[in-house]
Structures are given as C-alpha cells and as structure tokens.
C-alpha cells in the first residue's frame, strides 16, 4: 500500500493551483520566510519538509492567510490561487479560507456534537438551503473523512469524545465540508499513534482525487509515503523542490542530502 504513490507517480502536466513568487514573511523583526518561489499543482499531494523552525508551517499559513490573525506578522511577495492574488485588497480572507481549508497539528474539534462540528462550515458559508441538504453535506463530508461508518450512529455525541485519530479525521471531514479546492495540513499526524497515522495517511492519498493537498510533516517517511512533490525548507529558504522520488533518491542540494540522511535536523 505504501508503495502506491511511487507507482502512480506520473509526469503528465497538471493544472497549477498555487503559485508563490518571492514570498517574504516577517514576525516583527524576524525574517521567517526568505524569498520563496514555488508552484503547487492540483490533484497532487505536496509535502513541505525540513527541520523545526525552518518556516514550513509559516509558509503554509500564508496560503490561506491564517497569518492575518497574528498581529506582528507581515507577508510580502505574490501568492496566487488560480491566478488571483490572494493578498489583494479586494479579497476577503473569509472567502479565501472557505476555498483553502486547513487541518491542524492537534485535532481541534469544537466542543459541539459531531454533526455540528461538520455542519459548522456549511452553515456559516450558507452552503445548504435546507436541513436535508445540510444532512447530505455532512454525510458526504464524513464519508470523505473516512469516519462515517464509525460515527453515523452517534452524530449527536460530542466531537471531543472521539479518539485522537477519529478526532483528526473528523477535523478533516469538517474542512472538506466547506467544499474547498485546496487542503492545507499542518503536521496532521504528529499527535496521533501509528495506527491512526496510517488511517489518516490513507485518507490523504484518497483526498488527492478531489483536492490539491499540501502537507507539512516532520517525518520524511511520511512525506515519501503520501506525497508526489516535496519541498525542502531550511532556515526560511526553499532549498529544493521537485518530485518526491527525486528528492529522496537523488537530491540536488547538499543540505537536502544532509537532512535526508539524518545529518541535520
């Protein structure tokens, strides 16, 4: 199963979803992201790897403007989603985030029922015209989150009562429910045990059919397992970006090699 990505890895050109050009990010006086340029394809899992504090999460949070919620954070450069500048003044981050969903490091279900957790996004964005439609959206999302079978009998139970892996899949379902085009995942498995991790990884691979998925991960094995493209970040620089197979077998930059072979990080 885990060899599957390498078999499917093909070379036909996919649509470009995100294109970032010369992106700089500052936290106050700290220069966190230095001149990053990258293009991310649709229907692809792209992994961001690198040692702690290399800026991979920061860059991820630029893609749906989550950094806006931090006062001291400043983003420069050009990030385009489907050719539209997402930092344009006319863009409402609320709409952007509906299009670019996000899953976080720690599972963070709201203290509400499982149903309400998933229905939250569709409700605030007005995606359903009736209760029946909402039910359908919730069911679809839970199926996509590969958790429907486990929770369909207890949709009224609190989301916080699920196990860690279930919670994370619930959060993925929650993100999927707003019908995003891109899914950002910030180390989605770091708080999970190996079995739950395997389930989530399998899910990520399936999500690729419908979305462009970007995943930040600490684990090189995970990147190798789930992604088609890999970007290696180091000290705020994007050091290397390419096919996952190529990065792990034949890195161009020696820093990438050092990291992959375990000499830095």
């Amino acid at each position: 199963m885990y060899d599957a990505p390498s078999l499917e890895r093909n070379v036909d050109q996919k649509e470009i979803k995100f294109s970032a050009r010369n992106v700089q990010v500052y936290y106050g006086d700290t220069h966190a992201i230095k001149d990053v340029t990258v293009e991310i394809e649709d229907n692809t899992v792209t992994a961001f790897i690198g040692p702690s504090g290399c800026g991979k999460s920061t860059f991820l949070r630029c893609l749906n403007r989550m950094n806006d919620t931090i006062d001291v954070c400043r983003v420069e450069g050009d990030i385009r989603l489907d050719g539209e500048d997402i930092y344009d003044k006319r863009v409402d981050p609320v709409q952007l985030r509906a299009k670019v969903g996000m899953v976080f490091q720690k599972p963070n279900p709201f203290p509400k029922s499982i149903y309400d957790n998933v229905a939250y996004g569709p409700r605030i964005h007005g995606l359903a015209r009736s209760k029946a439609e909402l039910d359908e959206i919730v069911e679809t999302a839970l199926r996509r989150g590969a958790i429907w079978d486990e929770v369909k009998d207890r949709l009224d139970a609190p989301g916080t009562g699920l196990s860690g892996g279930q919670q994370q899949r619930l959060c993925i379902a929650r993100a999927v429910a707003t019908a995003p085009e891109v899914l950002l995942m910030d180390e989605p498995c770091s708080a999970l045990d190996p079995i739950a991790t395997a389930q989530v990884e399998e899910l990520i691979d399936e999500l690729r059919q419908s979305y462009s998925v970007i995943i930040v991960t600490h684990s090189m094995q995970q990147a190798a397992r789930v992604s088609q493209k890999t970007a290696f970040f180091h000290l705020g620089h994007l050091v290397e970006f390419g096919e996952t197979g190529q990065i792990f077998t034949n890195p161009v930059d020696e820093r990438t090699e050092s990291y992959i072979t375990g000499r830095i990080g």
Binding site: Q95, E136, T140, A179
Partner: protein
C-alpha cells in the same frame, strides 16, 4: 475506504468563483461582523463613560470643599466685656464664654459693613449673626486666652463665614431659595456681594478640611476630615501589623509545608470562600466577637482594625500564595542541595524572592480595607462624631474615633446639603490615598517583577 471516491460535483461543491468579487452572503456576514465589533466598542465605551461620569461628578462636587469662605474682620476686644476686673487674670478671662465674644465679632463686622458704605436695611450689629459661623466666637476666645494682652486692642481676625454665605459664593444657595430660609435673608446676601467686591469676604484654600475635626450638624463650614484620617491610620496600623505576618505565615504553610490532607483542604476551601463573604458579615462577626463577647470598646480603631484584618486576610493569603508559587522550584532545590533545611530554604531564599509580590498584595489588601465602610457601621464607627484628636498611641487605638469612609457616610446622611460637598471632598481625599497606595503597588511590581 471507498467513501472518498464519491463523484466530484457533490452537493457541497459550488461553482468556481473569483476571489476578487465579494459575494452577497459574505457582505452580509461582514456587516454582522462590523455590528458585533461595534457592540464591543460600545460596551467598552459605556464602561469608560461611566468611569468618567463618576470621577467627573466626584471632582465637580468635591473640589468646593477645599475652599472655604472667610471674612476678614477687625474685632475690638473690649476689656469691659472680656475682663471686667481689669487684672488680666487668666482664670477670670476663661470664665467668659463664647457668648461674650459673639457681640464683639458682630459689632466688628457691622463696622466693616458701614465703613464699606454698603447700604442695607439691617441696622443692628446683631443682624450680622447669620453671616458668621458659630465657630468664630470660639476662635476669637481661644486667641484671647492664649494671649490675654490682646484685650483692649483691635485685632484682625480671619473668621469662617456661615455655611449659607459659603454656599452662596459656591452657587449652592440661591437668592430665590433664601426667601424660605430662616437661616439667612436676601439682605445678608446683598451685604456679602458688597463685601466680596471690597475684598473682605474671600474664598480661600481650606486646610482645616483636611486636618480638622468633625463638627456638629449645624456647622458644616467647620467640619474636617483630619480626626477620621487618624482613625483610619490607626486602623490600618492594626491591619498591617496583624494581617501581614499572619497572612504570610499561613501562605508559607499552605504553599510550602502543608501535607495534602483533609485539614489543609478545609483551610484552602475556607480561604477561597472567605474572600467572597460579604463585608457586612465581617461586621456582624466583629460586633459579636470583639464587642459583645470580648467587651472591647465600641467605635475603637482597634476593633475596626481587627475586623478589617479578618476581612483582608484571605486577599493577602491568596496573593502571597501566588507570589510564592511563582518562585521556581529550582531555587528550593538549589538551597536544599547545599544542605539547608526546608525551613531555611523557604526563609532564606523563597521568601525574599517572593517579597515584592507579597508587599504588592498587602498594599492592595490595605487599600481595600481603607475604603471599606460596611463593617465599620456595625461596630459603631459611624454616628460617632469625631471631634477629638487622639492624645497618644493608646488613645489612638482604644478611644472612639471615626474612619475616613465612615465619616463620609456620616456626612452623606446629614440633612444640610453643605455636608454633601464635604462628603464629595472627603471622597477626593480618600481616593488620593487609595491612588497613592495603588501606584506604590504598581511601582513595586514593575520594579521587582521577575520573569523566570
């Protein structure tokens, strides 16, 4: 896991839309957002407006108390009235009561009015009575008894004007109202206008308000806060001397030594609940235990201090424990590591490091106690007219006295509106004390704040 391979265009998938156009729903949501934010701003603004109104009305109503109307009168100290024997015998002079002095002052004022050329239908010196504070006679008498040689001379006095005259100059008493007032007539106000023009009736800074004693109901112009400030001071001494050591000792025990058992649990629950017991209940406790049971004197600052100590203790314990907790365990480990006993580790290292926090908490607790009124009502510190300065320490603790907030309450209850001004003025003084204490606490905290 076949769930994921559902058709692409499920119900949830909307048509592709540009990010650059804000749709109607988002606009609506943003308007709701703006409204919600506006509620928040309105709430904060309302709170701040209340604060401004409160402080504004304190200042507006209270500043007047720091000024008082005085009349500059030359008084002829008639030997025929004050020292009939002519021997300047001090005992004989003392026999003349204030009633003997009143006509002299009235005569003096009458002469001044005549000299200033103010036309008035009031033809007798006795008619001047309503303009002069009843305290003036005592003031003149005291001066004479202190210096009998003045008898026979004409001496310039600065005497208090009556509270109605004072109110007239402070826009508290109006000509229209005076018609119904038997304490003063319109003719007197005419004279006052003339004397103000002549610079004889003046409004000056009133030190007596800060340092003086309370006066009877009929002489608001004489009343001051000084004695009750002393009462508060002695109370705070008691509170400080008891609550600091007891509070710190209790906190040290609970934070550093207490084993986890039912007794210490009981103490903990107790303290957190005591902090929320209404202050009036502490008043009942003080009344029942210190006055009914232990027969300590009523209205004594000692009793007030004891009652307030019990009230302040939980506050001090809570803040002291917080500052003990903020000293990192590594400090204790370091001390224990070089062979200090636990007691030594606490007293030599932890306590000094927590001291700024403890002092800050203590000052804030004291400030709270200083402004507290309700318990003092029950132990008799209200209703007592604080006219005597305590003579000495023992008297300061044991003799009946008032306290600042109790005195303010007392004034607020009196019928004469002239006392309201005094009450507001008293509040200004009280708030100045509280502000000073809080600023000291803030400076202490800033200065010694340590982040671990």
């Amino acid at each position: 896991m076949t769930d994921a391979s559902l058709p692409e265009n499920s119900a949830a998938a909307p048509a592709h839309r540009s990010l650059n156009t804000v749709d109607a729903r988002t606009r609506k949501r943003n308007r709701a957002e703006a409204r919600f934010r506006a509620y928040g701003i309105a709430a904060v603004a309302t709170g701040l407006v209340f604060l401004v109104i409160l402080l504004g009305s304190i200042l507006f109503n209270g500043v007047g108390a720091f000024q008082q109307t005085f009349i500059k009168v030359p008084v002829y100290l008639d030997p025929a009235k004050l020292d009939k024997s002519g021997e300047r015998d001090i005992e004989a002079i003392k026999k003349v009561s204030t009633f003997g002095y009143t006509p002299l002052i009235q005569q003096g004022l009458f002469d001044v009015v005549q000299a200033a050329g103010i036309e008035t239908p009031l033809a007798k010196p006795g008619d001047m009575k309503q303009m002069i504070s009843p305290s003036a006679a005592a003031q003149v008498r005291d001066t004479v008894i202190e210096n009998p040689d003045l008898i026979g001379q004409t001496v310039d006095f600065r005497i208090l004007a009556s509270s109605r005259v004072d109110g007239y100059l402070k826009d508290r008493v109006f000509r229209e109202d005076v018609v119904r007032d038997k304490n003063i007539d319109v003719e007197h106000l005419d004279i006052v206008d003339g004397l103000v023009a002549a610079g004889i009736v003046v409004k000056e800074f009133n030190l007596t308000f800060i340092t003086g004693a309370d006066a009877s109901e009929s002489r608001p112009e004489q009343a001051g806060l000084g004695v009750s400030i002393l009462g508060s001071f002695f109370m705070m001494l008691v509170v400080l001397a008891l609550s600091l050591p007891i509070g710190v000792a209790a906190s040290i025990y609970l934070e550093e030594f207490a084993p986890k058992n039912r007794f210490t649990d009981l103490i903990e629950v107790n303290i957190s609940n005591l902090a929320a017991v209404p202050s009036i209940v502490f008043g009942i406790l003080g009344l029942a235990v210190f006055i009914q049971f232990a027969h300590l004197p009523q209205s004594a600052p000692l009793v007030g201090g004891l009652t307030l100590t019990l009230m302040t203790l939980p506050t001090i314990v809570i803040s002291t424990r917080a500052s003990l907790k903020s000293v990192p365990p590594s400090i204790r480990d370091a001390a224990l590591g070089v062979g200090a006993s636990k007691m030594q580790a606490v007293f030599h290292h932890v306590l000094p490091m927590a001291m700024p926090g403890i002092l800050t908490g203590t000052i804030i607790g004291l400030a709270q106690a200083l402004g507290e009124t309700a318990p003092l009502l029950l132990i008799g510190m209200v209703g007592y007219i604080a006219t005597n300065y305590p003579d000495g320490l023992a008297s300061g603790f044991m003799d009946p006295n008032s306290a600042m907030p109790a005195q303010i309450f007392e004034w607020a209850k009196r019928a004469d509106p002239a006392y309201y001004e005094r009450a507001w003025g008293g509040i200004i003084i009280l708030l100045v004390f509280l502000m000073t204490m809080n600023i000291i606490a803030i400076i202490l905290r800033r200065r010694f704040e340590r982040r671990w």
